[in-house]
């Protein structure tokens, strides 16, 4: 089977003279659960915004060799790039099933828009199973627990056939048990997706990251496994300030 990959080259985002993302190079392959970390203002979310078309950027971002930059937001989404937002974003007044339907049918032809549903599509059924939301399908999304909303968002990405999934702080505000379930969910989906997780939670990162990219002031500071990144003196400097020596792993977690 062909492996999907996302290749970002020399990505730059500038807001009125402020350079938020400054020449970032990043390549992520399918099967590699990549975490994107960095202090506040490092440009993590801006990078995701740029690749999904929400902010204009220069440089290049290719999915399986196809250029994404310059396309409109919904075209990028339809080429297979999906994302979640920092605050759980679901259509609150629509049910779980309707949320998934929207994501599944986004590319539908306008001629079929008035046709009533004939059964639940298998992709939607599968996504509800994967995310464990089958029992809640007729509940308005606004009534879901915080963790369930995040899973619904991930489910929406699955049914919209995204090859690349950007998840912006998926476990923020989750309980320990919910974190574990989310981690397992991510492990399941990374097998056939390119998954990039923006996360501050070092404990979660250590448990589930295959590889880590550290951003600081809009640039890539370090890249590698959790252990490699953690041992990198430049990363320690960014997180702990200059003059610190290597600290054991939990300390890095406590700082954040």
């Amino acid at each position: 089977m062909r492996e999907d990959y996302l290749e970002i080259r020399d990505l730059r985002v500038e807001f009125d003279g402020f350079v938020a993302v400054d020449g970032v190079n990043l390549t992520v392959l399918q099967g590699d659960l990549r975490f994107l970390i960095g202090p506040n203002g490092a440009g993590k979310t801006t990078l995701v915004d740029a690749v999904t078309g929400l902010v204009p950027a220069t440089g290049s971002a290719r999915l399986d060799g196809v250029q994404l930059l310059g396309k409109s937001v919904h075209r990028i989404a339809r080429s297979g790039v999906g994302r979640t937002f920092q605050t759980a974003s679901v259509f609150e007044q629509l049910t779980v099933l309707q949320n998934l339907d929207i994501a599944a049918g986004a590319a539908r032809n306008w001629r079929t828009l008035l046709r009533a549903r004939s059964g639940i599509p298998p992709t939607v059924e599968l996504a509800m199973e994967t995310t464990g939301l089958t029992a809640l399908r007729d509940r308005p999304a606004g009534e879901l627990a915080h963790g369930q909303k995040q899973w619904l968002e991930i489910g929406m990405l699955l049914v919209q056939n995204a090859t690349v999934l950007f998840l912006d702080e998926p476990v923020a505000g989750m309980s320990g048990e919910e974190r574990e379930q989310t981690g397992e969910l991510l492990r399941r989906i990374r097998r056939d997706h390119v998954v990039i997780v923006v996360e501050h939670d070092m404990q979660f990162l250590r448990s589930y990251a295959d590889s880590v990219t550290v951003l600081a002031s809009g640039k890539v500071l370090a890249e590698g496994t959790y252990a490699q990144v953690q041992a990198d003196p430049r990363v320690q400097e960014v997180y702990l300030g200059p003059g610190h020596t290597a600290e054991p792993a939990p300390a890095l977690g406590e700082v954040l």
Binding site: L54, V90, I102, A107, M156
Partner: protein, 294 residues
């Protein structure tokens, strides 16, 4: 008793006209937050469509039935044209939108004057809509009964479309969260256009209905547009349910005032009531989270 029923029927009939006009506005103004002053002129276009169809087809009954879908199309296309050329450039600039669409309304009125002349044109009422039926002992004209039925059908169809079809889900999704809809792969621009098409098309249908009870002339849209906006605002912006209750509420209220007062006094009393109501409930009868309000 007859007098009470008579006023009630008059109110219902006025309410159903208001409802038909306001229904389109619940989409374009309510859902999309666009203050389209030319909405009344789409209504006028619908009325003239009926006139033209009658000139071509001849039979009043048949041409009325042909005019209904055709006026929907005419109103809708005018709406899409306005949306793509002007309004799409003015999103998030409500005051400019108001001025521009008011200008468009004036242009359309003059256009109608040039093409059809300033005096009202005659649109014949089909035989089967002439005369009265007796409802609980008081007369109700068939034409007004037809409009009431049309308005309720339109509400029903719009409600079903919004609630149960993929199109409705998409419209509601774009209203609730534009960014999320876009990153889910929904073409929000196309959805905007489509929403505007349906909303303006409904104005066209309202225009057809109005030919049965009002004169078809270039300024007919102006008569109803303010009341229609009142219905939408007081009913709760974007809420079909609110628009229905408010349209009939205002209709009956106006008819009741008009029974004891002159028409203009009735109008003043009605406006005072609406203002007082909005002081107490500024969000309207029903409130909805929509991007026009946040």
């Amino acid at each position: 008793m007859d007098a009470v029923l008579g006023q009630l029927y008059a109110g219902l009939s006025l309410g159903s006209v208001l409802l038909l006009i306001a229904l389109g506005l619940t989409l374009t103004f309510g859902q999309m937050g666009v203050i389209n002053m030319a909405h009344g002129e789409f209504l006028m276009a619908g009325a003239y469509t009926t006139y033209v169809v009658q000139q071509v087809v001849g039979g009043a009954g048949l041409s009325l039935l042909i005019a209904l879908p055709l006026a929907f199309l005419v109103g809708g296309l005018l709406g899409v044209l306005l949306e793509t050329t002007l309004i799409s450039r003015l999103y998030s600039r409500p005051l400019d939108t108001l001025l521009v669409t008011w200008g468009v309304a004036l242009v359309l009125q003059q256009l109608a004057r040039d093409v059809f002349g300033a005096p009202a044109v005659e649109v014949r009422t089909p035989e089967w809509l002439k005369g009265n039926v007796d409802l609980f002992g008081a007369p109700f004209t068939k034409g007004r009964l037809f409009i009431l039925g049309l308005a309720l059908t339109a509400v029903l169809v719009l409600g079903v479309v919004l609630r149960y079809t993929a199109l409705g889900r998409r419209i509601r999704a774009v209203v609730q969260s534009r960014g999320l809809a876009e990153t889910s792969g929904i073409d929000t621009r196309a959805t905007d256009r489509l929403t505007f098409f349906i909303g303006s098309g409904l104005a066209g249908i309202a225009g057809v209905a109005l030919t049965l009870i009002a004169s078809t002339q270039p300024y007919m849209g102006q008569t109803y547009i303010v009341d229609a906006f009142l219905v939408v605002v007081a009913g709760g912006v974007g809420r079909v349910r609110g628009a229905v209750l408010m349209a009939f509420g205002l209709g009956v209220l106006q008819a009741t005032f008009a029974y004891s007062q002159s028409v203009s006094t009735a109008k003043v009393l009605l406006l005072i009531c609406v203002i007082a109501f909005l002081q107490v409930r500024p969000q309207g009868l029903f409130s909805v989270k929509s991007r026009s309000l946040v």
